[in-house]
Symmetry: C2
Subunit: 371 residues, 2 copies
Amino acid sequence: MDKPADLDYLRDYNDASVVAIARRIGVFDRATIASETGLTPQAVSKVIARLVTAGLVEPDGVRRQGVGKPTSVYRLVPDSRYAIGAHVARRTLRMVLSDLAGQVLHTILRPLPLDFTPQHLLDEVAAGVDALAGECRSGRLVGVGIGMVGPLDHAQGVVRDAHRLRHWHDVPLREMAAERLGLPVMLDKDVAAGVAGEAWLGGKEFHDAALIMVESGIGAGLWLGGSAYRGAHTNAGEFGHMVLQIDGPSCVCGRRGCLEILHDQALARGEVETAARVLAVGVVNLLQSLDLDHVVLAGADLLPHAATYLDVIRTAVRTEVPRADWLAAEVTTSRLGTDVIAAGAAMEMLNERYGRPTGPRSADHAPEPAT
Amino acid sequence: MDKPADLDYLRDYNDASVVAIARRIGVFDRATIASETGLTPQAVSKVIARLVTAGLVEPDGVRRQGVGKPTSVYRLVPDSRYAIGAHVARRTLRMVLSDLAGQVLHTILRPLPLDFTPQHLLDEVAAGVDALAGECRSGRLVGVGIGMVGPLDHAQGVVRDAHRLRHWHDVPLREMAAERLGLPVMLDKDVAAGVAGEAWLGGKEFHDAALIMVESGIGAGLWLGGSAYRGAHTNAGEFGHMVLQIDGPSCVCGRRGCLEILHDQALARGEVETAARVLAVGVVNLLQSLDLDHVVLAGADLLPHAATYLDVIRTAVRTEVPRADWLAAEVTTSRLGTDVIAAGAAMEMLNERYGRPTGPRSADHAPEPAT
DNA sequence: CAGCGTATAGCAACGCTGTTGCGTAATAAG
DNA sequence: CTTATTACGCAACAGCGTTGCTATACGCTG
């Protein structure tokens, strides 16, 4: 059953539209909001009044622009809300504290033991949350986003089978963590969370983008049509297992000639440029299928050779995509660097509460926020 | 600038939600609509009253369901609105007349001369519209959808460079056709229109799907997250130019080892099963990247061997997709057959006017409907 | 320095949305 | 015939963005 489109939805939607602009540009005035949202100035005044009451926004004096009454200026209160993001990797847990503006304020890195259990992870996450929550006033923490390797179910918040992790089959991590922490929790695939973070920084330009992560496996987080794309079972982005060489070398996944095995073999031989070329073939394949506007490169195994990868992939995009003059995507490295997954997960939590809803259809996952 | 979320949007959205259900199930009652939309029964009554006034819906007697006052039943009036869809291929123009329920009522097939010009196409389309419009009452035709090979710009309605068609560079076809026909026109890539048609028939089950077209080239229409996905420049779905064999045979696109060249070479050798296996590798690649729930096969070069393709691809999906027990996509042949593109284009036109909007954001393409 | 034109802010009334409360209609069962 | 049940729909309502208008605060002008 869908959520009905009623007046509450209308209000929340417009409030979120204004918050979205405020989060992006920080300082703003009524006329700017009015022209960007299409609302009348009067309606914007009402929205701003609500946001001031909620503490998300505050007056920031006036600006004289020449003749006439000065414009009232407002600004976002970045420290009015926080979110914590966690990146669960195979050997480490990385956690960040982000404010409403998306700024990463603190980072924590904790090692995880081999084959850690759900209980162990919860303990570590809880310790991290305690440490980070100390940095912000209580009641201002909206929740915790967790980015993790799949397969997992974003809607249900259940880890199905984390690749190469024992003890992780059908674990209802979101529910467990929410209960343990007493906070709303979102669970998402690592690359999906990561691309949300990059798309946040990229702004409106990021309409259709991919985050290519090369880090113990190769995956792609997809941002399509202006929002995260997860696929039918939260398993989109298994980019590394795209076959590029029929009858090529066998891959752990059971198929042959996967991008990942070709790439890793080249890297094992020390041929970074060959590895980059393999990845470039995959990226161009992705562009052919998805017509993206941005490709972001990240991951611990790629970033040390970022210059080579960037060069090879940009060349491939320019020369191998037909009509590259207007179809080509911009290729860059991640702006969030090693924090990309954790920061993206935090961003997703903030967007969940303060972002523009995609439509009045049912939110299929979000627990009601604790107050 | 976005369209503001105002009361008009609210009304239109809810009206469209009810029309969507009516178009799908035909006969309905107040309680069903209320539970499916989340609206109160009283609100549904108001919506139905508006739709009856517009002629889209009419009372259909009552239904006794046991004790209590009988339920008032309503039904869609399929012939209250029509749309025409056109499939512009290299040698033929296929046009269909569809009613509001999505039923294809008439089909017209007209040959096109080699290297036809925009003017020539307009003449043919106008003749087809005249013939088809005679089958429905005037004023009930909402517009014409055109599906055509790309690259083209859906938002602007401009054909950039139709593959292998001279005379087709930066042709503002939507505007030209709208002026010539005096009707709203939508222009879309052939496969994008096609997948919209299949998704319409598939209903809610079609959330993330691809239509694989094998017909003078191999393309994929993508339906992601419940709506058509076109990419940053309406050029998504160039599935045939996914490289599957690094350093394989040269393709017309300039790269080597593309799916299309491997497939076509196998077919030229008469090895249908090998060709199907090549396509299957591409399909599994697509599933790895996009985690689809449905794959639909179509196209004049595939359908004659449908059984072989279906068998090979289904086997590949079952055996090569990890966790195929719950990640696998359903693979079928097109239900619309050779009409798929034209019927899909008509469907897109109807959805444009009577479908649920994806959000209050600006409609970036639709001309205001002529009355 | 008073008066004027101008640009902005905000109060108040308004139209319209879906919602709520409640009376009414139509049926089967007792 | 009476009663319980189910559905319908009028009327009042709360709350949304919009509209009309007044108040305010500035630069400019004489």
